[in-house]
Symmetry: C2
Subunit: 406 residues, 2 copies
């Protein structure tokens, strides 16, 4: 493995030559001080410029992970044997017990997984970090340390996430406030009805905190069908009342996959109107919001893993091309133009939904590039070849298949 996460002696100028854009055109990419300075055929080169030969590889923008939990992962640890019961509360209690007894360290683990994401081409990432009355801000401190370590290459947003709800354990709301003051960017929340048991009060606490600290919101809403629709309606009322248009993400939103079309579309219309975005992991075993329905109604839908190999799930991968494939498969997409929509969910649309700045393959954007040996974008999604080159913020962080197969 030739990758290094925090190279310190990179030149300020880099020219990546002979890459193929998804439209088939061959170009060079000139990078100066971490930005794309020029993009076109046969760019001039001089002796002071470092060269990377793209050798005709397909050029993609750095990927965006829209929802993961770096602090929970067992990535690189001995295999965690999952013997957990089926209920959400089983999983929450099991994790709390395991963390207390396994010596799991959120700093070490989040760094291991973040580096794997980076080496697989993810240069922007939103991670939810558990804030609770047992661990306090300990997991946040670990993830903040990881963010600092990778500061030059990985653009990371941290969500302060109350994994046990905001109402059940007194003091959680104050801890969330402390987390936001300590460096978390976004306020998290979880199932106001089925976990907190009081959707109105739970949402009022969440939106009150968001307003007080001036932070956007990203809420995990697993509540099914009509219950989820009810809670979502209450949430949308508060987006309007608090003027939070364009600053709220609803993660999962399984309910939108289970409603009759008329009810679903009424909610999608409200989501579009209030500029509330949806995050999907596209799990194959539960109802999910339809990508095509969201597009048709003007709702922003983007993608993420959720947890990667933790006490909740054995699945997940730092390779966002795999997530694009799973999103495409879940939505029954087969045509090349449809697979491109799934890729948008882990690239441009995710960047816009999360508010990652200066994203894309255009002059002036942050220089986040991924090269893969693939004929087309659809080919890259289904083949998920090793990354030939990953450039993050102008720096080479992976070369020749530093793959995340741990």
């Amino acid at each position: 493995m030739t990758a290094t996460a925090t190279p310190s002696h990179q030149p300020h100028t880099l020219l990546v030559t002979d890459v193929r854009q998804v439209d088939g055109s061959r170009v060079d990419v000139s990078i100066v001080d971490g930005r794309i300075a020029a993009l076109g055929p046969n760019l001039p080169r001089d002796a002071a410029t470092a060269l990377e030969d793209g050798a005709g590889a397909l050029l993609l923008p750095g990927f965006v992970e829209g929802h993961t939990h770096l602090d929970k992962t067992t990535w690189g640890m001995p295999w965690y044997r999952n013997e957990v019961g089926p209920k959400l509360t089983d999983r929450i209690e099991n994790e709390r017990h395991w963390r207390a007894h396994s010596g799991h360290d959120a700093g070490v683990q989040s760094l291991a997984l973040a580096q794997a994401f980076l080496q697989a081409g993810t240069t922007r990432l939103r991670t939810h970090v558990d804030i609770d009355t047992v661990a306090g801000l300990r997991h946040l401190e670990g993830v903040l340390a990881t963010r600092e370590t990778l500061r030059e290459v990985l653009d990371m947003q941290i969500v302060a996430f109350p994994q046990s709800g905001v109402l059940g354990r007194p003091g959680t709301d104050a801890l969330l406030g402390e987390a936001l003051e300590a460096g978390a960017d976004v306020l998290g929340a979880l199932d106001p009805a089925s976990i907190d048991g009081d959707p109105v009060r739970s949402l009022d606490v969440t939106f009150g905190l968001a307003e007080r600290y001036g932070k956007p919101v990203d809420i995990h809403l697993h509540e099914p069908a009509e219950l989820g629709a009810f809670t979502l309606g209450l949430l949308l009322d508060r987006v309007a009342a608090h003027g939070m248009q364009g600053r709220v993400v609803v993660s999962h939103a399984f309910c939108l996959g289970a409603l009759p079309e008329r009810e679903r579309d009424a909610l999608l219309a409200r989501l579009a109107d209030l500029q509330v975005a949806l995050l999907t992991t596209a799990p194959p075993s539960v109802p999910v919001p339809s990508l095509k329905a969201c597009l048709a109604m003007g709702v922003t839908l983007f993608g993420g893993n959720d947890g990667v190999r933790d006490t909740w799930t054995p699945y997940g991968s730092p390779d966002m091309l795999e997530r694009a494939m799973l999103i495409a498969m879940r939505n029954g997409l087969r045509r090349d133009d449809d697979l491109a929509l799934a890729f948008d969910c882990v690239s441009s649309i995710a960047a816009r939904a999360c508010g990652f700045a200066d994203y894309g393959l255009h002059v002036g954007a942050r220089a986040d590039l991924v090269l893969v040996a693939a004929d087309t974008l659809a080919h890259a999604i289904v083949a998920r070849p090793p990354r030939r080159l990953v450039v993050a913020n102008g720096k080479v962080v992976a070369r020749h298949g530093a793959a995340p197969a741990v």
Copy 2:
């Protein structure tokens, strides 16, 4: 890539040392004349025996692909751009047109994909081959040539498959008979109601042919919900009437994923009683038979890809560990013991359902072994690491990551 599909100078005796079984025990495996001769700790070795150092890798049996279409694949060809319409008939017509104009060669293509399966650890494979009035037996001839080329290492079953139905194009039934005489092992069939338009007559032709040629049946049943249930009932009547117990597979059977539990379980009980097996690809976007429900009712459910990168679908992989993962994800399985059930679907259960002989990791079985660097079986399924070693019928066919990433 060090793999070779048809090695000719392999020694007759091979000792694979220091491998880990899924129960954690460390053993050696002694192979003589293509069979497992002994399996246990510290087996004796002598100078005449070739050695392969397992280095503590996890030992798995060779994988079984229960349903694919080697003759359709574009594997290794330039990327096929999918611009096909959404209907089943669109896809059938599109493929016929493409085959006539692209120079696609079923012999070349089936060999490329079969070798990729082998190098990824699949040593037994059932492939459906198109038989129709345009191509006649041409695709079959190509796949028969591939079977002959890989005879020493890949155990291949061929299904004579009427991709356009058995009733619509006169002469198809006679061609199916010719295919069975020419070397096909199993009689295929397709959607007796929704494609053939006459479920009774279609099924009667199929079961008549099966009886006349003394061959088992594998029918593609995509028909949804109540329609599929109706056709499945007619089919089960004929299994009983023709004494075909234990010799029929129903592939896909989407209907079983869409029925109310009582109706579903009544059909599952009949399937179990008549020893009719089900094949699933576990697609995430349509209803599928539940693995746990099948197990509870005593129905054999096994797994396969269906097509791999063809004009129908961009998806699919010669890595059956990936299929096991998709089956587990589709069924919402997370526990290690549940993931092992998904692995059974692409190994022991598939071998039993298809009738592949002498399968498994026991003395006397055909020596089909896969070694991977993984802590546990569940880890192997989610990480899908490169194959450290693949032994097929006692011969080394892949070593140190001859991965099928094409």
